[in-house]
Symmetry: C2
Subunit: 323 residues, 2 copies
């Protein structure tokens, strides 16, 4: 079922070890929280890895920092570039800022001012484009040609996947053996990193991916054995809109035990439950794993389960349970 | 200036050590979080002790557990009682539940259903009274006479103060020497516990109390050198409405360096800032220390400051920055 292109470089455990040493000065070793009440509701022992407390409030600084600090001095001088206006744009801007190199972020001029402000807040240099794929690609190509900046893809990049793999490494180091780990899946960077780590140091631990029903392209891909991509899915879990690519498909198709989905209502309920009982602020995408655990009780009953809370960037003025 | 009644038992450091051993199985050792951005705003190095992650989401389980688990077998059988319908009611219900003894909570019948549900959720046995002091006192006396339950006051109780003292002990153990610690002040239980600990193991660390302007009875007491009590103050920081009593006045008058106040708007802003940047859910009372730090920059400039986030029990449907 694996569909890895022959020319892909598949990162190794040694790459993960090197990445962890490389990024440690620039990331938090985030805490792992538990909740007795949520354990009771789930009928399982859940360990929440709180990447919402990560730098820039998102796990993506792991991959971004690994890419940025892995660059040679010469390459680094030219900076890095991406066209993600979401969490990866923040994370890459943060990492580049720590190294003192430019980070170019191509964003549609129609993007919310708050997103532009957030990227600039982390030192990112925004170039605006028209809100179309053709304009974005043309603008990005121009920026790259002018600057020679290194393109860091949000997830289809082995340096990024290797960086994300440090998260599961910390979970295993801190909690010990687990029956399962579950993470949200969008493009699959975090899930791929989790696969990379667990397939080496804890191959008995099952890996699950959690996805919104309304953007279930990874679920469909998994079931059909090939990458399925949607044009413009809509879900409150707006960090999970993008499709798998060949580097993440390699890991998802090879190591994931199952992909579970949750409805919008289930996601909002899990999000509110987490805020109310664990007292943490996290974004809707991060609630999808708990939502799927609560509706697949038989799968997780009595198990020790790591749950990756991927990020905390949410609009506090627009909470989804308040109409 | 101290006004300790001669018959008060003043807890010792040995009491704190014993309390910490006693309560450890029933409390979390809560994490201490930091925020680079908030440090920049404050011009100081702040260490946030997150008691919003504590059992029952409030530091008060420390004192309540110390009282409950310090009871003799015979006394314990009769249970404990209180008339706090707020966080202390939750905390005492939690601690009693862990020991498997009854916890009687006298509450006005007009109290919000959510508060009654929360107390019952932790196993508390509610007896309703009319919403008046006379009815509350009569009802409470009746319950005590009938049950022989041990009255655990929310703060004017040396067992409670000694339990709260374990919080500052953990801060010093985890962070080392600090220039200052600041906590919200209502009845003064947490501040008194902090004084008890620091006056023994870190007497060079200054202790500040933070209070809403609209319920500034501790501030007035501190300035006038005697306990001032208000009838019915109103503030969003609804955990800080009650006045000092003789046991907490002893510590506040003897060891506190200063009491700072903040307006309602400053409290809400500090609360929102903490949610937005630290990604934690905490109640308005817990935001008062940061609010006062941000407006007293000269006092804290360049200092290492412990900030006690006292609790996380907030109505997620009524966030104060959303009108």
């Amino acid at each position: 079922m694996a569909a890895a292109a022959e020319d892909l470089y598949i990162p190794t455990w040694e790459d993960v070890l090197a990445a962890h040493e490389r990024v440690k000065p620039y990331i938090h070793r985030t805490p792992i929280l538990t909740s007795r009440l949520i354990n009771e509701l789930a009928g399982a022992e859940l360990f929440f890895k709180c990447e919402n407390f990560q730098r820039a409030a998102v796990f993506k600084v792991r991959g971004a920092s690994n890419a940025v600090f892995g660059l040679s001095e010469e390459a680094a001088k030219k900076g890095v570039a991406t066209h993600s206006s979401g969490n990866h744009g923040l994370a890459l801007s943060y990492a580049a800022g720590r190294r003192g190199i430019p980070c170019h972020v191509v964003m549609p001029r129609t993007a919310p001012q708050a997103k532009k402000d957030a990227v600039r807040g982390y030192g990112g240099l925004i170039t605006e484009c028209e809100p179309s794929t053709s304009s974005r690609e043309a603008t990005f190509a121009k920026i790259q040609a002018e600057t020679g900046a290194d393109f860091v893809h949000p997830y289809n990049d082995e340096r990024v996947i290797t960086g994300q793999a440090t998260c599961a490494k910390e979970i295993v180091e801190d909690i010990g053996e687990l029956d399962a780990i579950i993470a949200p899946i969008g493009g699959g960077g975090m899930v791929s990193g989790t696969c990379l780590t667990l397939s080496t140091i804890a191959p008995q631990t099952k890996i699950y991916a959690a996805e919104p029903e309304q953007a279930d392209d990874a679920y469909q891909s998994f079931k059909q054995g090939k990458i399925i991509a949607y044009d413009a899915p809509k879900t409150i879990a707006d960090g999970l809109l993008v499709p798998l690519k060949e580097r993440t498909w390699h890991f998802v198709s090879k190591y994931v035990t199952d992909v579970f989905t949750a409805s919008e209502e289930e996601i909002v309920n899990a999000m509110r439950l987490t805020w109310a009982r664990m007292k943490i602020v996290m974004e809707p995408s991060s609630a999808v794993p708990l939502a799927t655990i609560l509706k697949n009780r038989d799968t997780f009953a009595g198990k020790r389960v790591g749950v990756i809370i991927t990020g905390g960037n949410v609009d506090l003025d627009k909470l989804p349970w308040l109409k």
